[in-house]
């Protein structure tokens, strides 16, 4: 069972990396970039039947630092759908 965890900075938390990417995009001549926020995508391959509560616990205990980060869990609809 494939699960994707998206870890993003909370609103209001300054994102130095997002800001640098924003500047770099502008430097490349891309106009109209209003804002950039950088985050992490963590792909997990879990035993079938792993419950939401357990995945959330993984996020809270390790994958995200909830002081500054939010997380969102996305279950792949079918096995293999995370492939390129």
């Amino acid at each position: 069972m494939k699960v994707r965890v998206f870890v993003t900075l909370k609103n209001g938390v300054l994102d130095p990396q997002g800001k640098a990417i924003h500047h770099a995009l502008e430097g490349l001549g891309f106009a109209g970039v209003n804002d950039v926020r950088a985050g992490k995508l963590i792909e997990l391959d879990l035993a079938d039947g792993t419950g939401d509560a357990e995945i959330e616990e993984m996020c809270r205990k390790l994958l995200a630092n909830t002081v500054i980060e939010n997380f969102r869990i996305e279950r792949a609809e079918t096995a293999g759908s995370l492939g390129a």
Binding site: V13, L14, P16, Q17, K19, A20, L62, L63, N65, V67, I68
Partner: protein, 224 residues
């Protein structure tokens, strides 16, 4: 003073810290590997050193905070044993929730490695008793993730309870309210990004850091 320095894979200031402790207390600290689940008995100080524990994977300090030895460090901190976390050690202590807040990527993106001026905000703690409140000292910093952040309520509480130990005198890394080092509520845990252990003898370019260790020595009843 009986002290221990915790060593993680990727620690690189452990020997600097051990040398500072040996110099000031006359006794070499125990070097405790991260896999240990118990600490030596009768410790007066646990020091968590700088470096890049576990390659800073996931977040600085995140993996180290889960290592077996940190359970023992947390238990000792809760019993009142002084715990000092420097640089990556500070990051480890926040990830282990022994200190509030988090240390994010520097606001300027770049690694910052230079001497910085700090203001001593609290001279009443066991770590800062040998400094005067408001005094300016110089310690080196060497970090990529030193940008201290916490929610406004936490920051207000830290300020209100006198738990901001050191503040940057100028802009360094974007830290909220210029915070360079904080204490826990009980006052026995200090985390700071600058390196006092790299300012303990004249050859270091200054000795401002030495008094932090001397103050600790005095606090545990063995004046330097």
């Amino acid at each position: 003073m009986n002290s221990a320095v915790i060593v993680f894979p990727g620690s690189n200031c452990d020997r600097d810290l051990a040398e500072a402790l040996r110099l000031v207390s006359g006794r070499a600290p125990a070097m405790v590997w991260h896999r240990e689940s118990e600490l030596p008995a009768g410790l007066d100080l646990i020091a968590v050193p700088g470096g890049f524990s576990y390659g800073d994977y996931l977040r600085s300090g995140a993996m180290a905070a889960l290592s077996p030895v940190m359970k023992a460090v947390t238990a000792a901190a809760e019993r009142g044993t002084p715990v000092l976390g420097i640089c990556n050690g500070f990051q480890v202590l926040t990830e282990a929730r022994l200190l509030p807040g988090a240390l994010m990527r520097n606001a300027g993106i770049r690694f910052v490695g230079r001497d910085v001026a700090l203001k001593v905000e609290n001279s009443q703690s066991i770590f800062t008793a040998r400094y005067a409140a408001g005094e300016e000292v110089v310690f080196p910093v060497a970090h990529h993730d030193g940008n201290y952040q916490a929610d406004a309520e936490t920051l207000d509480r830290l300020e209100g309870e006198g738990r901001v130990a050191f503040r940057y005198a100028g802009a360094v890394n974007g830290s909220a309210r210029g915070i360079a080092g904080i204490l826990n509520a009980a006052g026995n845990v200090l985390g700071l990004m600058p390196h006092p252990e790299r300012m303990v003898e004249p050859a270091h370019g200054g000795t401002d850091g030495r008094r932090l260790f001397e103050g600790l020595l005095e606090a545990v009843g063995q004046p330097a």
